[in-house]
């Protein structure tokens, strides 16, 4: 019997219940305490201090990690400096083989890494399993191949490594950001001291095990855990020749200032407030998926998140209707459940920041929409949120929220869309949705952002350079362009 049109529409509106589909965690062993990875082995911290890392979905402690002090950081930098001589003189094809090995080990231990990433950071398992870990392995595989081909990358130059790279990474994509940092650094012949974020150190600890499994020469990779203080010790250490930082624009500026006059090479990958622009001729259902992926992927903890939706006025109403309906079908909850779309907010501090900005949006006069959404009792959670009636001057339209909060603005002409999209000190990414090819290229030309996604959003690949214009930082990661910051090309 054919289903009537009305029945079909009713079905489409219905949200199906999903049975729990928890990812197994019995194959993962998290140690109660972790030391620092210095000189090829795990060592006790000089500081004797440890701090807990918790699962943000349960607030339960997962492990205690070390808080590196000045002596610890000095040991790590010296270990990297000692390793530099032999590593940089190792035959490039050997360097490549170590990186290939690491890539393979990440693939072999993929599920374990994905589970740890999700437990420590709160992101849905389907994202760590399908995005973070495969991209991490791919990044090492890609840069492995560059290690013995550097002369072909930079015509008329003799590329030389810089020395010890000090790298500080954020908590939103812990292993992926580690890979973005370590893979090109090692391929270019540098050694590294890396500091993972304080709320997500565990996948870096597993990576230390992988370095040992790969029999990477001691000191080539050193990992020191800690908070901001440890990070500033790393970047300011005089033995560090190159600094790479991914994180907030605020901290990026502090680092740029602190490094003034030191001659250290610096790359910064900072915040964003990306415009995701939808034209009236865009395929709306695809655009809705793109908008959702743009801002609710990884709970919006994404520097290139499409946090400002610019909708052409003529389709604002139907698009909002579709988007609100789609929000109602997002499943928020246990990050280890394979059906979960929105996991836990990474930390209490981040949750409070999101709450504060959302309150400011309401106070300034924007209209709040949140779907009916039951939040778990323990842990840090924030429902998918959408603001309409947003003025460009509101804080929610200007400041990076780094949470699942979308601000919707409208425009009439392409020129107005460009004007509004570029009206920000940031310039990391942008999205364009339209069926018209010439308009895509016209928009892509004018958007002042390092990555433009047309009829897609939040795509990443090791071959594809990533990085910002303006206050979103400088330098690129990924692709041939991601090698240059780790080489002396003079």
């Amino acid at each position: 019997m054919a289903i009537s049109k009305k029945q079909s529409a009713d079905l489409a509106r219905q949200v199906f219940e999903y049975a729990p589909a928890p990812e197994a965690i019995d194959h993962v062993r998290i140690q109660p305490t972790y030391g620092l990875f210095i000189g090829g082995k795990m060592v006790e911290p000089h500081s004797k201090k440890r701090f807990p890392t918790i699962n943000p979905a349960t607030e339960k402690k997962l492990a205690e990690v070390s808080e590196a002090d000045a002596v610890d950081v000095d040991r790590a930098v010296k270990s990297a400096a000692r390793a530099f001589d032999s590593w940089s003189h190792l035959s490039p094809s050997r360097r490549a083989r170590y990186l290939f090995r690491i890539s393979r080990l990440i693939q072999e231990r993929a599920r374990e890494l994905a589970v740890v990433e999700t437990m420590d950071g709160g992101k849905p398992i389907k994202e760590s399993r399908d995005v973070d870990i495969p991209l991490s392995a791919a990044h090492f595989f890609y840069y492995a191949g560059w290690a013995d081909k550097l002369e072909w990358a930079f015509p008329n130059r003799k590329p030389r490594p810089l020395g010890v790279a000090g790298q500080v990474i954020p908590w939103n994509f812990p292993l992926l950001m580690l890979s973005w940092k370590i893979a090109p650094a090692l391929a270019a012949g540098n050694t590294v001291v890396l500091k993972p974020a304080e709320t997500t150190p565990l996948s870096a600890m597993l990576f230390a095990e992988i370095c040992m499994q790969a029999e990477l020469p001691p000191g080539v990779v050193n990992i020191v855990t800690g908070a901001g203080r440890t990070g500033s010790l790393v970047v300011e250490h005089p033995g560090v020749k190159k600094v790479a930082f991914t994180g907030s624009t605020e901290v990026g500026k502090l680092i740029q200032r602190a490094l003034a006059g030191t001659g250290k090479k610096l790359t910064l990958e900072l915040g964003g407030k990306a415009a995701n622009i939808v034209f009236e001729d865009a395929p709306l259902d695809q655009a809705v998926e793109g908008i959702v992926n743009g801002i609710y992927f990884n709970q919006g903890h994404v520097c290139c998140a499409g946090s400002r939706l610019l909708v052409q006025e003529s389709i604002a109403e139907p698009l909002m209707e579709k988007l609100k309906r789609r929000l109602g079908t997002l499943r928020l909850g246990d990050p280890l459940d394979k059906n979960t779309d929105i996991g836990a907010i990474n930390s209490r501090a981040q949750l409070e920041k999101i709450q504060g900005l959302v309150e400011s949006g309401v106070e300034e006069g924007a209209e709040l929409y949140q779907p009916e959404c039951k939040l778990p009792e323990r842990g840090f959670w924030f429902p998918p949120t959408l603001f309409t009636n947003v003025s460009q001057s509101y804080r929610i339209a200007r400041e990076e929220i780094f949470g699942p909060v979308l601000s919707v603005l409208t425009f009439r002409t392409p020129a107005e869309a460009v004007e509004k999209a570029n009206n920000t000190p940031y310039g990391l990414s942008a999205g364009v949705w339209t069926d018209k090819g010439s308009r895509i290229l016209w928009m892509a030309e004018r958007l002042r952002a390092g990555v433009v996604w047309a009829n897609t959003f939040n795509r990443f690949d090791p071959t594809s350079p990533f990085g910002g214009y303006k206050e979103s930082g400088f330098g690129r990661e990924g692709g041939i362009h991601g090698l240059a910051p780790y080489l002396d090309l003079n």
Binding site: A138, P155, N156, R157, T249, G252, K253, L254, Q256, R257, L259, A260, G261, L268, L270, P425, I440, A444, E445, A449, G450, V451, V452, W453, A454, N455, T456, R459, D461, T463, S464, P465, F466, G467, Y469, K470, E471, S472, G473, F474, R476, G479, I480, H481, L489, N490
Partner: protein, 268 residues
């Protein structure tokens, strides 16, 4: 009796006195405008206004205009040789400056083919990366060589479709100020190149801290000045370009540029 020239700042395509009304005499004889913070502000505003249209010019058109600048400079070779003190060395410097302009004129429509990429991503997407201008570029010209030095930095910045606010060498500003006359007659739209003379300590801190300047080239700065510029540049994450003063290469052009990556799905 000769008709003497009044040296002026070059801002927004016009030759103007400093709004401050001040002048200084670097060689003890000729009055040179002593540009102020407000002159700098005007120059940055003019540059920012000129930027979108300049960046939208075709690469070929920018190449032709840079080549025109080489023609204008070469045709006034004798005058510049005199300004640089005359003799073979001075003439050689003028020739180098002309050659630099010609060389970068030829790069405008080749750079994206050398510095851009098509990226083989692991999925059904077409993905490419192209260099784009960073925007308003501040240039601190070195004192020596007083003509070739400033040309070696302005040319690659313009080649990359940026707009420029240049500080002339404080002690030898006349070649740079006269170079502005070359730019003024080479079909550069008003505001694309601006040249200010004056005292470095009065201008540099404001240029380095200006929130609407995207990059600053410190070719002419002392190490102490570089440190101060780098600290001030952090206010708006300015790019600080520290490439050796003698460099001429596409790597220098891309130092003034941003890489933009565009993704689009492939499908039917």
């Amino acid at each position: 009796m000769d008709v003497r020239k009044t040296y002026k700042l070059f801002v927004n395509g016009e030759f103007v006195r400093s709004e401050s009304g001040r002048a200084y005499r670097p060689d003890g004889i000729v009055n040179v405008p002593r540009g102020s913070r407000k002159d700098l502000r005007d120059a940055v505003r003019a540059a920012r206004t000129a930027f979108p249209a300049w960046a939208a010019r075709t690469a070929m058109n920018r190449g032709q205009i840079l080549y025109r600048a080489a023609e204008m400079l070469d045709s006034r070779g004798a005058q510049f040789t005199d300004l640089l003190g005359g003799g073979v060395k001075a003439r050689r410097e003028v020739d180098q400056a002309v050659e630099t302009l010609v060389w970068y004129a030829g790069w405008t429509d080749k750079l994206p083919q050398v510095a851009g990429t098509v990226n083989p991503v692991a999925g059904p997407y077409f993905n490419f990366t192209l260099p784009e201008p960073t925007g308003v570029v501040g240039i601190v010209a070195p004192d020596e060589p007083s003509l070739a030095g400033i040309v070696r930095r302005i040319a690659p910045a313009l080649c990359g479709a940026n707009v420029v606010v240049a500080l002339a060498p404080e002690l030898r500003p006349l070649p740079a100020l006269t170079l502005a006359e070359v730019f003024a007659t080479s079909d550069f739209p008003a505001g694309v190149v601006n040249v200010l003379s004056g005292q470095r300590r009065e201008l540099l801190p404001w240029l380095a801290a200006h929130m609407d300047v995207n990059a600053i080239d410190v070719a002419g700065c002392t190490p102490e000045e570089v440190r101060a510029v780098e600290a001030a540049a952090a206010d708006n994450v300015k790019r600080v370009i520290k490439v050796a003063a003698g460099e001429s290469s596409p790597y220098l052009i891309t130092a003034f540029m941003e890489m933009k990556t565009v993704w689009h799905p492939i499908g039917v």
